[in-house]
Amino acid sequence: MLICSPSPVTKGWDELGTELGVDWSGVEKSGPSFEEIAKKYNISPERQRTYLQRKMTGEAYFRSLSAEEQRRVLGPAKWLAWKEGKFAFAQLAKKTYSPVWGAGRGAASLKELLGEDEAAKYIRLSQWNRSTNWEKVDQKTVADLLPKVAVVKNSILLKPVSGKFFVPGVGSIDLLVPAGVDLVNVRVIAGNMTATPFRTASTWAEKIGGSPGDWQKLVGIVDGKYYTYEIHWVQHNDVKYDLKIKRSTRR
């Protein structure tokens, strides 16, 4: 029967053999040496010295890595969330238990760290910033990495938009944009997913619900046959609020 357990120290075969009373002096090392690893992963001599001195905690060592290295280790979404302070470094390791292997340690998933909705949000964010040069943004916050305006998939007008349009000397016309019409070129211009703050998000959260950080202000276009209409609205959980017409333009 094989029993595995985490050990706070690393010992060579010689040391283990002495402790267990077994002669393992002739057993060759099975893994690559630290020097071999350092060469393979291009770890600088300075960092090798620091590592060998073993004066750093795992967190301090991780923080000493470049943004690109950190991102490669954690993955883009988890790195973004960590960078924004959504969880502490220590939370990355979780205790596990298996009836076969017993107690152990494992890496906590983003979903375990943040919950399903927040995890999905950071995965989307990291995808949007795929082309970013991470070395250059090392010192920036997540808000700096977000676009000023985020392009999102087109949407549909779920309720008809209508109102009285008045032409002096002619009279009134009831304008109707029917339900089911496509809203195209939809963009988030403030709030969640953008670097642009949504000034009154806290008012919306207070009056309707949710967290202020989840509210968004969006813009979309209705292409009428003769006019285009720029529609603005506020959105939370895919529900549109306060639909307004910003401008109408003759095509």
Partner: protein, 101 residues
């Protein structure tokens, strides 16, 4: 130019009953109003939420320009609506996806 909205308050950041709003002008048949969001949007001369026809209020002129633009406009609106009511004709409904106006 300033207009007072009288009617049911609607939206979180749209129009509030009894509140005076800055009107930036009358353009393309609609009024450009700086509403509760502190941004300017187009509102009808018969104001209400664009996505709920059941809520409608009215405007009252508080401050007009030298030409009396808003006073004249609302006088036109009043006459037009009275004529429509008197003759019994309903205003033309324009589906913007199909018709011109």
């Amino acid at each position: 130019m300033k207009l007072k909205y009288i009617g049911p308050s609607f939206g979180v950041e749209s129009l509030t009953d009894g509140k005076v709003y800055i009107c930036l002008g009358f353009e393309d048949g609609l009024l450009r109003i700086v509403d509760d969001s502190e941004e300017d949007y187009l509102y009808s001369v018969i104001p209400g939420p664009w996505d709920d026809q059941t809520v409608r209020g009215r405007w009252e002129v508080v401050e007009d320009d030298e030409d009396g633009t808003l006073t004249k406009l609302f006088e036109d609106v009043r006459i037009s609506l009275e004529n429509e009511a008197r003759i019994g004709i309903k205003p033309r409904v324009v589906n913007v996806m199909e018709d011109d106006y």
